[in-house]
């Protein structure tokens, strides 16, 4: 372990836990998608989840804001346990933002209404305040001039940036990204990754499922490699890309790089 890695590990150990998954298991009928996953994400950490398709990475981050229900183990988000208690689910969801592969913008609402919907209805903000904040966020993701347009009128990259702004409008402590660039044309991937890098620099706690190795190497504090529902290896980018421990990790990286 290099000196830089050591320093990072010590720094992370001193921070608060934001997401703690312990022995999380999940079945779809008789197929086990997650097999006792243990993952901890620290405050202000960027955690990238790698793995072949079907390895359970999306299922894992969808469990963290209860879009999927885990059946065994425990998940704590910012100290709140995710159980059947609807109040806990509501509190966690309003602290955790999520960006999807397919954007999932609301096509019947204009861009600005997409961004203000949750602040007005969940946070009970005034419309004027929510709109000011929305314009600020759209400026931050670089598309203030599209505020009055509808999602169908935007390019994929612009839609995904609106989706990020929509999540940020709830002022989340944690952002989950589920393959945010996989549905984009190559020339639009960079604009979305730039926004994400910007967020990471701003100190957002992030958990990102992606196949963008350049992003992982540059931005991630730690990487998790998953396969068939299990965590195979956790480590820093340097560790992963220079000297992975497990054979399965080596095989995957040799295929993807």
């Amino acid at each position: 372990m290099s000196i830089a890695d050591q320093a990072l590990t010590e720094d992370l150990a001193s921070r608060d836990d934001m997401i703690v998954c312990t022995g999380v298991s999940k079945w779809f009928d008789d197929f086990q998608a997650l097999k006792g996953v243990d993952v901890t994400v620290k405050d202000r950490e960027v955690m990238v989840v790698l793995g072949p398709s079907g390895s359970g990475k999306s299922t894992l981050i969808r469990c963290i804001n209860r879009l999927e229900v885990h059946q065994e183990g425990s998940i704590f988000v910012d100290g709140i346990e995710l159980t059947n208690d609807t109040r806990n689910i509501e509190r966690i969801r309003s602290e955790v933002g999520m960006v999807f592969q397919q954007f999932n913008l609301f096509p019947h609402l204009s861009v600005i209404d997409n961004v203000t919907l949750a602040p007005v209805w969940v946070r009970k903000k005034s419309k004027v305040e929510a709109e000011q904040k929305a314009i600020e966020l759209l400026e931050r993701v670089g598309i203030p001039e599209q505020a009055q347009k509808y999602p169908g009128q935007l390019s994929g990259g612009q839609q995904q940036r609106v989706a990020i702004a929509r999540s940020l409008a709830m002022e989340p402590k944690i952002m989950l990204f589920d393959e945010p660039t996989s549905a984009l044309d190559p020339e639009m991937i960079a604009e979305v990754l730039d926004v994400m890098k910007d967020l990471a620099r701003g100190g957002m706690t992030m958990m990102v499922v992606t196949h963008e190795m350049g992003f992982a190497r540059e931005v991630a504090d730690r990487l998790v490699f998953m396969e068939s529902g299990e965590v195979v290896e956790v480590g820093t980018p340097e560790h992963f890309f220079t000297n992975p421990r497990e054979d399965r990790t080596k095989l995957f990286l040799s295929q993807i790089l």
Binding site: L67, G97, F106, P107, W121, S126, G152
Partner: protein, 515 residues
């Protein structure tokens, strides 16, 4: 490449094709040919029917509409000849139309409510609700609606006999094999003053509401706007109930308008109508041209566009001709009926009106049946009830499927995104899923509305006096089958077109903007 094309001297569009190969000319000829063809077919059919009917000495025409009906109707706004108003053939048909519309309108409202409820609960995670609504849909949509209607009649007919002591509350609420009767609330003399006063109050309430809404948008939070609106409405209704006679001053004002309207000379009215026709045509053409205009300038007009504009000018000319020469009575009719309208309104506000806006009449019985005209309660006859229940349950099963399909058509990512943002299930349904589902639901829902309207003609099976049943009685009496059927067709066509146009308008409003 550019060199070769300029040197080979091919200039597109310079050679004129002969007329019989020119697409533009051929299109015009086709338009005219279709128009003439349709007119010719109609002309032929009408002439043929006339000669044949004349040969069999069956009279054709609508003169019989003013003849006395000489039959009774089962129910409706007028069922028998009365001293105030005789029951003519046309009046009888009108009563039938009103009965049809009553069933159709109530049927549309109730089948929609029931259908939406069942459709949503078929998708619910609640096992009992889901199974029950599945059974509801499968059971009801697989039995012919006619069978269901007759079944309801049989069920309702097996209720107790109608006597003066029939309850649950004798004299007030009566349930029997002749139907269900409740006290009828009606508009009493003071109603118009009350309504005018309420109009003033409502304007005030709307202003208050707008103010509250503005404040809520500015400061956030929940000011309970709906609750406040309701409270204010109830309070002002109570006040208006007590002080409504103060509005009697409107009577003389309406009287003055009546006189002024009546004094309009016929020529002026004709001129006004012509101006309306001309302005209408000009506005239509301007709007049409505007719709063809883009920031880049006016788009090239196609032959079809020219045809539309020429046709609208033609319609305008015909309208002017009708007003001036064809039917001069139209303008005097408008003057007279307009004047009458204000006169009637003036009378409603006249002196000596009672202060009670609403009053109630109790059910009245004669010889084991309800009196269904005059001073009596609100009666739901078994015939009305059976056709109504049959249609509502049958149609609601289809509407439930339409609603279910519409909700399923919204991608699951939409409700996931809403949930991830922290919206509750109810908020997600209301703000995200239903607005998008509505877009899918609306066209097939319109079809169901058309179906329920047309299926009201099944009332003939249980003897409910809707338009088809009344019409049948009419042509059995006077053999005017064709004339009666033409009335059916015009009536159903105008109902269906009205429903379609409402549905289409809503569809346009709901369209999602893309590109």
């Amino acid at each position: 490449m550019s060199q070769t094309s300029s040197s080979s001297a091919i200039h597109y569009g310079t050679t004129k094709p002969p007329l019989w190969r020119n697409v533009a000319v051929l299109k015009w000829c086709a338009q005219l040919a279709v128009l003439l063809g349709v007119l010719a077919v109609f002309w032929f059919l009408i002439a043929e029917a006339r000669t044949n009917l004349a040969a069999k000495s069956i009279p054709v025409g609508y003169d019989w509409l003013d003849n006395p009906a000489n039959f009774q109707l089962g129910e409706g706004i007028q069922t028998v000849d009365t001293p105030e108003r005789s029951l003519t053939m046309s009046r009888a048909l009108w009563v039938g139309m009103v009965n049809t519309l009553r069933i159709a309108a109530l049927g549309i409202i109730f089948s929609t409510l029931l259908g939406v409820l069942v459709g949503i609960s078929r998708l619910s995670k609640n096992f009992v609700a889901q199974r029950f609504s599945s059974a509801y849909v499968e059971g009801l949509r697989n039995i012919p609606v006619l069978v269901q209607i007759i079944l309801w009649l049989a069920i309702l007919g097996s209720l107790g006999k109608l006597t003066p002591d029939t309850g649950p509350i004798p004299g007030w609420v009566i349930v029997s094999q002749k139907g269900i009767s409740l006290p009828r609330v009606f508009l009493a003399d003071g109603f118009y003053q009350f309504a005018a006063l309420m109009l003033v109050f409502v304007v005030g309430i709307v202003a208050v509401r707008r103010q509250l809404k503005r404040r809520q948008d500015r400061d956030g939070g929940d000011l309970r706007i709906g609750l406040w609106t309701f409270v204010l409405f109830v309070i002002s209704a109570a006040i208006a109930w007590l002080i409504n006679p103060i509005m009697a001053f409107l009577g003389p004002i309406f009287g003055a308008i009546e006189d002024a309207w009546g004094a309009v000379p016929q020529g002026a009215m004709q001129l006004l109508l012509c101006v309306i026709a001309v302005v209408g045509v000009i506005t239509w053409i301007r709007k049409f041209l505007d719709s063809k205009r883009s920031p880049a300038g006016l788009a090239k007009l196609t032959d079809d566009d020219w045809f539309r504009m020429i046709f609208s000018v033609f319609v305008g000319v015909v309208a002017v001709f009708v007003v001036v020469r064809g039917w001069p009575g139209l303008s005097s009719w408008i003057i007279n009926s307009g004047s009458d309208f204000w006169g009637v309104l003036g009378d409603k506000f006249g002196d000596g009106r009672g202060a009670k806006p609403l009053d109630a009449m109790r059910p009245t019985l004669t010889e084991g049946r309800f009196v269904n005209f005059g001073d009596t309660g609100l009666t739901l006859t078994v015939f009305y009830a059976s056709i109504f229940l049959g249609l509502v349950f049958y149609t609601s099963a289809f509407i439930a499927e339409v609603v279910r399909g519409g909700i399923l058509a919204v991608p699951s990512g939409q409700s996931e995104a809403a949930a991830a943002l922290g919206l509750t299930r109810a908020q997600a349904l209301r703000k995200v899923v239903l607005p998008q589902a509505f877009r899918v639901i609306m066209p097939p829902l319109g079809n169901q509305y058309l179906n329920i309207t047309k299926n009201t003609s099944l009332g003939i099976a249980v003897g409910f006096s809707e338009i088809v049943q009344v019409g049948q009685t009419v042509y059995n009496k006077n053999s005017q089958t064709l004339a009666v059927f033409s009335i059916y067709m015009i009536f159903y066509l105008s109902c269906s077109l009205s429903i379609s146009s409402v549905v289409n308008t809503i569809n346009r409003r709901l369209a999602i903007v893309e590109r």
